[in-house]
């Protein structure tokens, strides 16, 4: 980071990731990896605006694990007019700087009565990866999603990654950008529109990935992919599921979710994080409060197991939602299988 910062003194955008050497997003390419989507978005935003800069653990040239330090630093730089993008190796490590995210970034515009705005982005992998154990696998969507003053987004596809990251960088408020390590290498089709350097996705709007009529499956990040697979399996059994990709955790797109439930009358929420006080709990509350009369079945919430993430591969699989879990939950919501409580 030292070298990068020195170069930055000349006001040159200073992160050049070697991966960008292969700029494959020319006109004819239709597939893009999430990793490329993120890097291209960062590169374009830094080129367009010299106040945007990157800082973080092992950014650019493998330097340093000083999270509390650079989180505070980033906030200070934002106070004075720069637009930092702070990268955490994972959001688990961000816990060491969480006071700065909450008390220095999120609350500052309000507490300074609008005098100090903090146009900062905190990004990095969130949630489980593969075999990294309890201290590297927690999902922070619901923690950050509770904080007024923060915006929290979580992309699934490359289109999401590009559009939301650009929107986050351009946003004058602090944004927590929750990625997923296992999605980095996944490829998604991208249209010409997505490749445009001004392409952004509005923060606070969900996307209906697959329309359906029988049950609404709401999730974010990697679980969207699992939900889509579950929808394919359900289709064979004659259940037409609607799959919603939240894209934003805060603000939560309550209107899209509620509109969907009013159509299908059944709801399944899916997340990798811990079940209590999770994102699904908030969605459930919103739907019960606004669309109670439309529900034909209790809301099914699928979440990670209520245990610190185990390391052993077999245990890790059963600690996390799998496609089968989503299928079973959808069937329960459609009364195609016996509710869990009835089996005790």
């Amino acid at each position: 980071m030292l070298k990068n910062l020195r170069r930055a003194v000349g006001a040159i955008p200073f992160m050049r990731n070697p991966a960008l050497a292969s700029r494959s997003y020319s006109v004819s390419v239709k597939q893009m990896m999430v990793r490329e989507a993120l890097n291209s978005a960062l590169d374009e935003e830094m080129s367009a605006d010299p106040t945007v800069f990157l800082m973080g653990e092992e950014v650019g040239e493998y330097q340093g694990a000083y999270k509390a330090g650079f989180t505070g630093l980033g906030v200070g730089a934002a106070y004075y007019g720069l637009k930092p993008v702070i990268e955490f190796m994972t959001f688990n490590f961000a816990m060491q700087g969480v006071d700065h995210i909450i008390n220095s970034a999120a609350k500052t515009n309000y507490m300074s009565s609008g005098n100090i705005n903090v146009p900062i982005v905190f990004r990095g992998p969130n949630g489980p990866a593969a075999g990294v154990g309890a201290q590297h696998s927690q999902c922070y969507a619901s923690w950050y999603g509770a904080i007024p003053g923060l915006k929290v987004v979580s992309p699934y596809s490359s289109e999401d990654a590009r559009g939301l990251l650009k929107a986050a960088i351009r946003d004058p408020d602090p944004v927590v950008f929750l990625e997923n390590e296992l999605l980095y290498g996944e490829s998604f089709p991208v249209s010409k529109q997505v490749l445009d350097s001004d392409f952004t996705i509005p923060i606070g709007k969900a996307k209906i990935e697959k329309e359906g009529n029988d049950v609404s499956i709401v999730s974010f990040s990697r679980m969207v992919g699992f939900s889509l697979k579950a929808a394919e399996i359900l289709a064979k059994d004659g259940i037409d599921a609607e799959v919603i990709n939240l894209r934003s955790i805060r603000p939560l797109d309550r209107s899209t979710v509620n509109a969907s439930v009013r159509k299908t009358n059944r709801l399944v929420t899916v997340e990798e994080g811990f079940p209590q006080h999770g994102v699904g709990a908030e969605i459930c509350a919103s739907v019960v409060s606004d669309s109670f009369g439309y529900l034909d079945a209790p809301v099914e919430r699928i979440a990670g197991a209520d245990v610190p993430m185990p390391y052993a591969a077999n245990l890790e699989i059963i600690a996390l939602p799998q496609v089968d879990d989503i299928v079973r939950a959808a069937k329960r919501a459609c009364y195609r299988s016996v509710p869990l409580s009835a089996t005790r």
Binding site: G72, V75, A77, Y80, S104, S112
Partner: protein, 469 residues
Amino acid sequence: MAHWFGRSRTITHFLKTKIISSSYRSLAGDGSGKACGIFREKSAVIPAFRRSESARAGDLVEAVTYSDDDDDENQGLEFPGGRVTFTPQMKFIAESTDNRVPCYRVLDNNGCPIPGSTFDQVDKETAVKMYRKMVTLQIMDTIFYEAQRQGRLSFYLTSTGEEAINIATAAALTPDDILFTQYREPGILLWRGFTLEEFANQCFGTKDGHGKGRQMPIHYGSKEHNFFTVSSPIATQLPQAAGAAYSLKMANKEACVVAFTGDGGTSEGDFHAGLNFAAVMEAPVMFICRNNGWAISTPISDQFRSDGVVVKGQAYGIRSIRVDGNDTLAVYSAVRAAREMVITEQKPMLVEFLTYRVGHHSTSDDSTKYRSSNEIEQWKTGRSPISRFRKWVERNGWWSDEEETELRKDARKQVLNAIQVADKTEKPSLEDLFTDVYDSPPSNLVEQEKSLRETIKRHHQDFPSDVPI
């Protein structure tokens, strides 16, 4: 062991240095210098070993430096981080020295300049302004504190005993320098033109206050005065200051960032992060530590075991100085000099002001529970920075008893007036509950405000009368 020497040179070197140092002990016993000669590849010179006269078996022998110039990897080595010279003496750096780092002071207890002292001359106008502000700060603190005791304010904390640090630092800076304070530095705002009315409005949370009623008292902030809003968590402002200084450096301004903390704040992780980053990034930030002896109830002996805070500078590669914080002229000169260095050299500085927290930590504290009233009294009357500076100013013929009486009377009147007015001023209106959470109001808050206003219309008689709509 002989067969090991067939390996690569680096291993041989390693072995040489390892074995040689350990064989000093064995050689002391048998007196033969021959063992060392075997290890040397290049030269036939056998280093001479002298034993001191009173050497006993097992004593370290004095070694002569090697005469082979090529082999200077034996003198020192370029490790990651730079070249270091070796020493065969196993020596620990002591945890403390007998003599502590001396403290820079200009005026003695009677306000007379100490012969031979170096300091910046202060003209009459500046000196009188500093003195007036110090007294005003003291009076403001006293009266606001009393107001809290009377139940008119929820909270307050004073800077009593630290008026010199507050005002002289402010006087030594320029209006372009950016402040990241802890919370015991309102004198800086006072110097920069924040009015007593503004202080009162913030403390009372009125509609005229800068905070729109969002902050508890003493959490002042002013964009206009380059004073970042005070934030309660301790020491978080230190890495923020380094970040802001970094921004400032990119903007190439002839100004610096000044960040304050207390002795307690130096025990926070953010102190380490802030100073270390500032040093590495060569950020133009002056870190000021008000070492006032107490972190709420924690005395210095429970805070750290180092020689105060000044010695911590060197640990980060930061130039530092220890100053008598109750000596107005010393504070003024030191801050001016440090500021000059920060800006021209574009690197951080650490200034430790030694002082004493005369007041309680805050209105939520009663410090007589953990320290003697004698100690407090001794500092309050015997070592007051205000009295000391007053003597100097008076001796110069720039101040008189009459002006003193008038100043105190006026200041008291103004502060009381400001409080009275603020106490009666309207509180912020309903909309200030919802604004500034984000840059533009989110839909859920817009909805909630609308719904609230409708409810108020329907049940007007139930809505509290002191909340303007």
